[in-house]
Symmetry: C2
Subunit: 344 residues, 2 copies
Amino acid sequence: MKATSNSRVSGSRGRPTVLDVARIAEVGASTVSRYLRGSKSVSAAVSERIAFAVRQLGYQPNELARGLRGGSTNTIGIVFPQVTNLFFSNCVQIAEEEARKSGYTVMLLTHQENPEIQASHLATLQRYRVDGIILTAAEGTDIESFRLQAGNIPIVALDRPLWKECPSVLLKNRDAGKIATQHMLSHGHKDIVCVTTSQEMYTFKERLIGYTQIMRQAGLQPRVLTAVDYQQLIPEVTRFLKSADRPAALLSLSNMATFSAVSAAKGLGIYFGKTWSFIGFDDFDFAPLLESPLTTVRQPAKEIALAALQLLFQQMAGPNSKVQAHIRFAAELMLRSSCGCLFP
Amino acid sequence: MKATSNSRVSGSRGRPTVLDVARIAEVGASTVSRYLRGSKSVSAAVSERIAFAVRQLGYQPNELARGLRGGSTNTIGIVFPQVTNLFFSNCVQIAEEEARKSGYTVMLLTHQENPEIQASHLATLQRYRVDGIILTAAEGTDIESFRLQAGNIPIVALDRPLWKECPSVLLKNRDAGKIATQHMLSHGHKDIVCVTTSQEMYTFKERLIGYTQIMRQAGLQPRVLTAVDYQQLIPEVTRFLKSADRPAALLSLSNMATFSAVSAAKGLGIYFGKTWSFIGFDDFDFAPLLESPLTTVRQPAKEIALAALQLLFQQMAGPNSKVQAHIRFAAELMLRSSCGCLFP
DNA sequence: TTGTAAGCGTTATCAG
DNA sequence: CTGATAACGCTTACAA
């Protein structure tokens, strides 16, 4: 099984290689390589022969070999908690599209807030020699050991910070908490209570701080409704709703808490926008279509993802530059009626 | 710059290689390789030394080299229209988790229903030598040329079929259309109209066929409301809602059409469940929380994704077996009140 | 059980 | 402008 001459057979594993192309085009392998890379030092005649051979063979360069040889894989890793969450799926969507436009391919991994899975994902991405990583760190990550494990691979933190020097793109979470609280205040509310699935997670904690600050400033008592998960949160909110001695304003800190709060209210037949008020976190398609159209705090997911990707590319380009960029995006209040707006 | 002896320096590109590990462990490279692969023909003493060296160096095997040498990359590609769509994001989520459990890593690509992007994605996945692909083909794909371009790489179609022999996991779309229509019939409706963003896309077309069949069987006149996109569909539905000479039943064929229909109804202050009825397609968290809790046709996204992955693994295992598996999942009616249920 | 050597497909280097 | 050659890091015969 040697030299099948100029027949259309190919590399040992069925797929044609540069050598096959070279043979058919009657040139050397390196010339094919040059042509493929778009080097202009390839004569027109030769270019044409190579193009023909490539087409005839349906040749696809082996990126593994390329990556092995060249050192870069044109691959980035995206590590998110999960992707069944509008915020993250929007981020993935935009990041994938943009990465592709720049010639990069995305490896997507989700850690479900499990630091061990996350660690294994980091290792995986290193083994595949991705050129960079966009990461939303799992709650409970040991940042220092993670940093150590990450070594020199460019990383951009999205949604949650990592170590100090690590470039990050975050929401102005405190401000988000503030504007929502202030808005409730502007509606004349005194009893404003926060609803959240956790007081520990970075983003929630930050939003909570914003809320608390404004409450304190106004001489009001902050109050938080929590539970271990959004399912447990429903009865919690229900209990509050039933026991409150007067109507109050509810402020959600996450899309899950929004679900729980709306769920509880629905169960009790409570309508948001007149006596009771509500502001949800994270906007979504159906928010305007709920019985009482939901006022929400909107995160600019696409801008965030885009910024993260650009930061990553910068980081990948300047290996020594140690770009220290921390980008913060403002949240936007989507005014609808659940907060009490549009009811003159 | 030669032979830095037994110092802790490493491969040419900063990262340690098997050779570095071998040197420290004072064994040959192949022994390290064997150890890493879990071969039992490695003595305990040597194993220990290697383990130590690996840990000391933070060695991560280069999957590029592995793939180049061994022929398989432990990588699969997932190509979806987009991931900002609960159905697909659920699929991605479960597929990624399961793939990981089997030691595979996912490359995620989205084509936005653009066959050209899709073609380029296919090429990309081939260049990265993924072991298999899960694909939801773009509307308008030239199946035959796609098949040709795909060559021998294992592919499983999800949500939409490809060529006849290509394993696929689909929803029983016609049945889905049928059960929804029949349910409307059981509520005594005569005027049942379909709402969809397209009559061309495979899934919608199929669901429409189911609907039409049942309508014909019942001696009723099928009727469809369409528009180029879900935004355009809103005024379309609104017009219908206003001009109808009597209340009717609306049947959505997709989550986007559901949004449009609910939007139109909301705009008109029309409530679903008493005189007007509605069944949405694709279930979602907030469906029970709308003013009139939405009855929906639910697709078992996780089961579908799981089945697709399993089929793919089968396909990857048996290169010659030409497994011809076509799995169909039944849709499930999530009875709530928008269809008229729960109103005795 | 262990080590040596060849080769996976590319590209960079270096002569021609 | 072009072609041979040597790596890139790993695994798999084949020897020892």
